[in-house]
């Protein structure tokens, strides 16, 4: 396969309309594996976490995103880049059903998560979000103490055993422990923006999800805070599968193993976001096959 393949890795995009949930196991035979990111050599088959097929998202009559198929692999950082309005946020929010509450939201195509249809009749929305955590663009700590921010979700889930230890671990993994260990009972709203965002990451990983979705997590932060969050991602990917939306190309180049470039489809009368190119980060940035990708990463638009 070619690294810059339109649909990610050669999976034909000729699936019919979404029908019944078809269970797929992780060992679905694959004709091609994603190319190595570690400097050549065949990559061992990685498990597929998300298998997105012909995804299209509508808000009422408006099509926000269409014609998008890609696979997200376990324990990699997958970046989603593109100009504003190209459906990046819509895309990532559709991966843990955060869009469900939006009036008129409709998703076509299929999103398979470990082979299970995320939008199938058997899929429980709360269960989905318990497995697929999300950190948002704007830091949104709860108006509670630092400790309670992290401990809240584990308590709900019944993970009350050694809760203090769990909170400490989560804060350590979010590289926040040293800064807050003496004021765990203070309000989280007193933290700086960067600390708040790391608290939100700690909050998300405290319940040990399978996937972390990061929707422009550093866009509201200063460069120092941004750097600390990027460092964090290198550590976290060993334990989680990470999908990150960013409008910052350098950030994608620094943190991501694989990169998906989204843009507006302006060929037809209706404008909607769509996946243009998906592949190994190096390929996207150094040798993209689509001219739009090359223009974008070269800073010629967006």
């Amino acid at each position: 396969m070619t690294a810059g393949d339109r649909t990610g890795d050669g999976v034909p995009s000729d699936h019919g309309p979404p029908g019944r949930v078809r269970l797929r196991t992780e060992s679905t035979p694959r004709s091609a594996t994603p190319p190595s990111i570690n400097g050549g050599g065949p990559e061992p088959t990685r498990a597929v976490v998300f298998d997105i097929r012909d995804m299209a998202v509508y808000y009422g009559q408006n099509c926000a995103l269409a014609d998008t198929s890609l696979k997200v692999y376990r324990n990699l950082v997958t970046a989603v880049i593109g100009p504003s309005g190209c459906g990046k946020s819509t895309f990532i929010r559709s991966l843990n059903r955060m869009n469900d509450a939006i009036l008129g939201f409709r998703l076509e195509g299929r999103v398979l998560y470990h082979g299970h249809d995320l939008y199938g009749s058997g899929a429980n929305r709360v269960e989905v979000r318990r497995r697929i955590g999300m950190v948002f663009q704007k830091p949104n700590p709860f108006p509670k103490s630092i400790y309670d921010n992290v401990a809240w979700a584990p308590r709900n889930l019944g993970m009350k055993h050694r809760l203090d230890e769990r909170v400490e671990q989560a804060l350590r993994q979010a590289a926040l422990w040293e800064e807050v260990k003496d004021r765990l009972r203070d309000s989280a709203l007193g933290l700086s923006g960067g600390q708040q965002q790391r608290l939100c990451i700690a909050r998300a990983i405290a319940i040990e999800p399978d996937v972390l979705l990061l929707d422009e997590p550093a866009s509201a932060l200063d460069p120092v805070a941004t750097a600390s969050i990027e460092d964090l991602m290198h550590d976290l990917k060993h334990r989680f599968t990470i999908v990150i939306v960013t409008h910052n190309m350098q950030q994608a180049a620094r943190v991501a193993d694989r990169t998906a470039f989204f843009s507006l489809d302006i060929t037809g009368p209706a404008r909607f976001g769509t996946l243009i190119e998906y592949g190994d980060t190096e390929t996207i940035f150094r040798g993209a096959s689509d001219s739009r990708t090359r223009d974008y990463v070269a800073g010629r638009f967006g």
Binding site: G115, G122, N124, V126, G158, Q169, E208
Partner: protein, 307 residues
């Protein structure tokens, strides 16, 4: 990577990410709690709507047989016959007079709060508090106040006294409505006028008030609808009148619809009680229709101004 090695934080809450997306762990129990709460909340809302239906229906079935053109346009004959024309006219007089007093005071107060007082002004703060307190006054106490202020010195109950009491009920409502609408007038309008060197008061009169007039009017209608049903003040201030006569003499007792209901309820004459139900139905319909109309209009005005 095996699942077990990924879970370093503890044993509980473990899940297999490849399992179907059906509830795992304690989610089943939590879902039951969640559903229960939703059912309770829905039932509470249904109960409130049912309450409204029960009250409206209860009044409707008892009052509808009395309603007729004659009921609205004839004066009473005896204790139970005829219509309630004079009561309707009386309520109209008292409420209209009250609104005439309350509207300028309410609107000017709203103007003061939005156009002339700074956001951190202490005077404005006390005025808002005063409006809150005024709105929270029991209306029967407003009746007592006006009784001491006007009825005792003049030695006569009057429609005018009731009007003034109703004005006190309406002022805070109208002030609040004006204030809310005036806050919606975009600051760019004020700045544009200021930039042209126009006086503030001229700006207010020619630019700000006209663009807020719709909202103020709907607020006024809501306040009037509220005052029209007020019984406590008229009971204290305007309960002595000729029940069979249409009067425009507001310096003496004027019959009003709420007083008709209040006095007829316990009369041992079924026809009088039936007439009271008819009056109650008519009063309620007018108030509810005014409310619904004002709300629809208000929502539209707000949507237009917010654009």
């Amino acid at each position: 990577m095996s699942i077990a090695s990924r879970l370093v934080l503890g044993e509980s809450g473990r899940f297999d990410p490849t399992a179907p997306l059906t509830p795992s762990g304690n989610l089943r129990r939590r879902t039951v709690v969640d559903r229960t709460v939703r059912v309770i909340a829905t039932a509470a809302a249904l109960a409130a709507v049912a309450m409204l239906v029960i009250v409206v229906y209860g009044v409707f079935v008892r009052g509808v047989s009395s309603l007729s053109l004659a009921f609205a346009f004839q004066t009473p004959q005896g204790l139970a016959g005829g219509g309630i024309f004079n009561y309707l006219v009386g309520t109209l007089e008292v409420v209209a007079l009250g609104a005439t007093i309350a509207l300028p005071i309410g609107v000017l107060t709203g103007l003061y709060l939005t156009e002339f007082a700074g956001p951190r002004s202490r005077v404005a703060g006390s005025l808002k508090l005063a409006l809150d307190v005024m709105q929270g006054l029991p209306t029967i106490v407003v009746g007592l106040f006006i009784y001491g202020l006007i009825v005792i010195p003049q030695h006569v109950q009057s429609g005018l006294a009731a009007s003034i009491a109703l004005a006190i009920v309406m002022v805070p409502l109208m002030a609040r409505a004006s204030q809310e609408v005036l806050l919606l007038v975009p600051n760019s309008l004020r700045e544009a006028a200021d930039a042209l060197g126009v006086n503030r008061w001229r700006t207010v009169l020619t630019v700000i008030l006209p663009s807020a007039v719709g909202g103020i009017a709907t607020g006024a209608i809501l306040a009037i609808a509220r005052a029209a049903g007020e019984t406590a003040p008229v009971l204290i201030l305007d309960s002595i009148y000729n029940p069979n006569q249409t009067t425009f003499d507001i310096f003496h007792g004027v019959p009003t619809v709420p007083m008709l209901i209040f006095t007829s309820v316990e009369l041992p004459i079924p026809e009088a009680v039936a007439r009271a139900w008819g009056a109650a139905l008519l009063l309620m319909l007018m108030i509810l229709i005014a409310n619904i109309g004002a709300r629809v209009w208000l929502a539209r005005t707000r949507a237009k101004m917010a654009r």
